[in-house]
Symmetry: D3
Subunit: 184 residues, 6 copies
Amino acid sequence: MNLKYILNLRHIPRTGWVLRGVPPAVAESVADHIFLTTLIAMDIAERLGSMGVRIDKARVLAMSIIHDIPEAVTGDVVRQVKHGVEEYFSMVESKAIEELGLQGYSELYDELSKAGSLEALVVKAADDIATILEGSRLVDTGYRQVEEIVVNVRDHLYRLINEKANGDLKGILHQVVSEYMGST
Amino acid sequence: MNLKYILNLRHIPRTGWVLRGVPPAVAESVADHIFLTTLIAMDIAERLGSMGVRIDKARVLAMSIIHDIPEAVTGDVVRQVKHGVEEYFSMVESKAIEELGLQGYSELYDELSKAGSLEALVVKAADDIATILEGSRLVDTGYRQVEEIVVNVRDHLYRLINEKANGDLKGILHQVVSEYMGST
Amino acid sequence: MNLKYILNLRHIPRTGWVLRGVPPAVAESVADHIFLTTLIAMDIAERLGSMGVRIDKARVLAMSIIHDIPEAVTGDVVRQVKHGVEEYFSMVESKAIEELGLQGYSELYDELSKAGSLEALVVKAADDIATILEGSRLVDTGYRQVEEIVVNVRDHLYRLINEKANGDLKGILHQVVSEYMGST
Amino acid sequence: MNLKYILNLRHIPRTGWVLRGVPPAVAESVADHIFLTTLIAMDIAERLGSMGVRIDKARVLAMSIIHDIPEAVTGDVVRQVKHGVEEYFSMVESKAIEELGLQGYSELYDELSKAGSLEALVVKAADDIATILEGSRLVDTGYRQVEEIVVNVRDHLYRLINEKANGDLKGILHQVVSEYMGST
Amino acid sequence: MNLKYILNLRHIPRTGWVLRGVPPAVAESVADHIFLTTLIAMDIAERLGSMGVRIDKARVLAMSIIHDIPEAVTGDVVRQVKHGVEEYFSMVESKAIEELGLQGYSELYDELSKAGSLEALVVKAADDIATILEGSRLVDTGYRQVEEIVVNVRDHLYRLINEKANGDLKGILHQVVSEYMGST
Amino acid sequence: MNLKYILNLRHIPRTGWVLRGVPPAVAESVADHIFLTTLIAMDIAERLGSMGVRIDKARVLAMSIIHDIPEAVTGDVVRQVKHGVEEYFSMVESKAIEELGLQGYSELYDELSKAGSLEALVVKAADDIATILEGSRLVDTGYRQVEEIVVNVRDHLYRLINEKANGDLKGILHQVVSEYMGST
C-alpha cells in the first residue's frame, strides 16, 4: 500500500465545496468524508443485520474505506466533469487503485462502481448521506451556493433508494436519512 | 448515532501535534487519523487473512472506526494527562460513546481498550503506525518538536508487538512497519 | 521559563469551539483567549481602582496571563471532562506550571483556582466574559452549536457575580458585561 | 460574466500541490496562480517588445487571465487525468468558458490551447515558470514530494522553448527563467 | 522583476477584511484581489471597445495587474491610515515599485494614481467593484462588520462614476455594477 | 473599551511574516504576539524585582498588553513604511487608542513610545525577544526569508540594551535573551 500518496487525502478539500465558495480551511478533506461515509455505512449495516438481513459487514466497511481512495492520485474530480465519460474515469480510477498498491481491492472497487450488491448499495447511500449532512451544515453557516449540491445529492439518494433498495433496506434508509437530517 | 457531534471530529486537530508547534492548518484532524488507522488496520488484517490466520475483519474495521470517536465529546486528551487515571478516562470515554448514540459499540470499545483480542491488537498497532507516519512527515517538514512523539510511539509500538503479538502477527507487523517507514 | 512549549499556545485552538463545529482556522487560539481575558481583566481592575476599591493590578494581570498557560502541556481539556475530578486536574496543571519553568507563579495559580481573592474573582469573570464575547460572535457567523457554551458560561458568570462579588465589584461586573454584550 | 462562480477560484487550491502533501492553507489558490502567470507573461511580453519583437500585449494579458478560468467550473484537474483524453477536456473547458459567460473569449482560449501564436507561447511559458517558482518554494519549505512536479514542468518548459520558441523569444525565455530561478 | 517578494502577495490577506473579523483563512489574498480586479477591468474595457470607445486594453490590464503590487513591500495599508498623507504613501509605493524591479511600470502606476485617463478610471472602478463583490459575500457568510466597507466603497464608486466617467463609460459602469451585484 | 474591534486582533497575522512568505495559517496573530510579549515582559520584571530593582510590574504588564493594540484600527504596518514619518504614525496610533475607547491608557502608550522609563524599556525588549523567538522558529520550519527580520530585530535589541539599559537590567536582558535563544 503506497501510503506516501494516500496520506495526502487528508489535505485534499472536496472540490464540490470549494467550487461553491467554501474556503478549504472550512471544507472537509476527502479523508474526512471517507471517515464519515464509513461510519454511516457501518450504522446502516448494523441495523440491517439486527433486522435479520444478511449483509457482509466487512465488505461494507472495506468498500467505504476505499470508495474515494483513487482521489489520492486523481484529485477530486466533480460529477459534472465525469458526466458522459464515466467509463474513462472508471478506468483512470482502477489504474489509480493499482498505483496506490491496492490491487487487492480492485474487485471490491468494481463491485462498488456497479452498485450491484446490497453492500455496494449501502455504501452508495452512505456516501450521499455524508455529503448531504456536511452540505447542510455548510449552508447553515452561510455558504448558500452549496444548496445546489445538497438538492442534487438528495435527489440522487432518493432515486437510488427507490430504484435499487427494496424490502428492509428501503425502510431503513428512509429512516436513517430522516433521523440524520433531524440531527443536524 | 448522534452525527451532529461526530461530524465535528473533522475539525479537531490532534492535540499531540499542535502542542508541538504544528499549526492546525498543517496538522491532521482526528477524523483524518481515524481514516488512516482504519486503512492500515484493513491492510494488516488482509495480510493476516491471506496467510491463513483467522481474523474477524468486520470487527477490525469497526474497532478502527470507533477507536477515537469519543473525542467528539471529550476532545483529544494527550496520554500524559491520562497517565495514572486511565480508568477514569476509560469511564469518560464509555459515557461519551453513549452520548454519541453508539451504545451498540460499547462492548467493542471495551475490547479494544483491553487490547485482549487479536483484532484489538491489530487496531492498536495500526493506530501507532498511523501516528508514526504522520509524525515523521511533520518532522520532515520542519516541525522538529514532533520527533519526541514519533520516538515515544515507536517505542510503544515495538513493546506492543514484542509483548502481545506472536506468530504470524509479529512477523507481519514488523514487515508492515518497515515497509511503511520506507514509503514516506 | 520554557518558551519552547509556551510558544505553541498560539497554535492550540480552543477545544470548546472545535467540538462544536468551528474549524480551527476560524476559532481563536488559547493565546488569543489569554490576551482577551487579560485585557478585560485590566479594564475591570482599572474601573474598580478609579472607584476607590483597593486592588492589586499587577496581580490581576499576572493571573490573567497565566490562567490558561498549563494548556501548553495539557492541551485544552473541556470542563465536562474535568467534572468530578477537578482536584486531579488541579494537580496536573500545577505540575505543568513547573514543567514550563513557571514555579515562581505556582502560588498565584493556586490563588486563582480557589477564586478566593478579589483579584482572582476579577480574572475569573474576565475569563467568562472573553468566552461569551467570542462565542457570541461565532454564533452570529453561523456556528449555532456554540450557543450551548455561551448559555452555560453566561450562567456561570452570573452565578459567580451573585455569589462571590459584592459591593462595587458586583455593580461594575454587571455594567461591564452589559456594555461588552452591546458592543458585539 | 458569471462572477458568482469565478470568485470561487480564490478558494480552490491547486490540486498538484495538495496531491503532494501541501495543506491547502500553505498551497496557492488557482486565482493566485493566474495572477502570477499574468505578471510573468507581462514581463516577458514587455522585454520582447523592447527588443523590437511585435507582440500583442493585450492578447498576452487577456490569455493569461483566462488560462485557468474554466477551473471555476471543472475544478483543477491534473495533467495525468487529462492525459489521452485531452480533446474531451478541451471540450469541457470550452463549455465552462460559456457557462461562465465568457463566450467572448472562446476564440482566445482556443488559440492558447493550440499554442500556435507567439502570444500563446509566451503565456504557456509563463504558466510553467509560475508553477516552477511556487513549486521550488514549497520544496524549500519541506514539501519534498513536490519536487516531482518541479522536475516535470521544467522539462515541459525546456521542450516548449526548444521546440516552439525561436529567435529573440528563445533567448529571452532562457534569460527570464534563469533570472527568476536565481531570485527564489 | 523581484519575484521573490511578489510571490508573497499570495499569502497577504486583505487588511480591510481581517480588521473586521474575517479570519485570514476565509479572507482573500491581495493576489486574489488583483486577479479579480483585472478580470473585471478586462470585461469593462471589452464592452467599451465593442461600443466603439477607444481604449488601450493592454494598458488597462497592465495597470490592473500592478495596482496593488507595491503591497508586496509595504503590506496592505488601509485607506484610513493613508488619509491625509496620501502623498507620502504615493512616494512609498513608487519606491516599492522600484524595489520590486518594476521601474518600467512607474509611469503607468502614476497614471493610475492620478486617475486621469480613461484606462485608469476603468481600473479604479474595477478595483471598487471587486471589493464590493467580495465584501458582499463575506457579509452574507455572517461577517457583518464588513458591511461598513461595502457601503463606503459603494459610495466611493458612485462618486467616481458620477464625477469622472462620462458618456458610454458612465452607462457601462452602472450596467456592470448592477449586473454583478445581481450575480452574487 | 471597544471590544468589537479589539477582538479582531486575533485574526490579524503579523505583516512582517506574511511579507516574507509565511502563510497566515502558519504565522502568529497580533494578539498571539501581544500575549508572548506580555509573558516575557512579566518574566523580566519579576527577575528585576527579585534582584531588588524597583519596577512597577502593573505598568509593565499594562504597557505590554496595549503595545500593539492600535493595530485593531490601523492594521499591522511594518517599520519600513513608518520610517521617516514616525511622528505621523504616532499620532495615528494615539487616535486609534481613543477610537478603541482606551483613552485611559494614552499616557501609558506615550511613555512606551518614548521608551524613557525602565518599564517601557523592559516592554520594548520583550517585544523584540518575542519577535526573534517566533522568527527563529519560522526560519527553522523552512521560511528562510524571515531570517532578514530576525537579524534586524536582534540588532535592534542589542542596540537597545547597550544604549538604554544599564546595571542589572543590562545583565538580565543579556541573560534572558541567551536563555530563550537556547530554548528554541
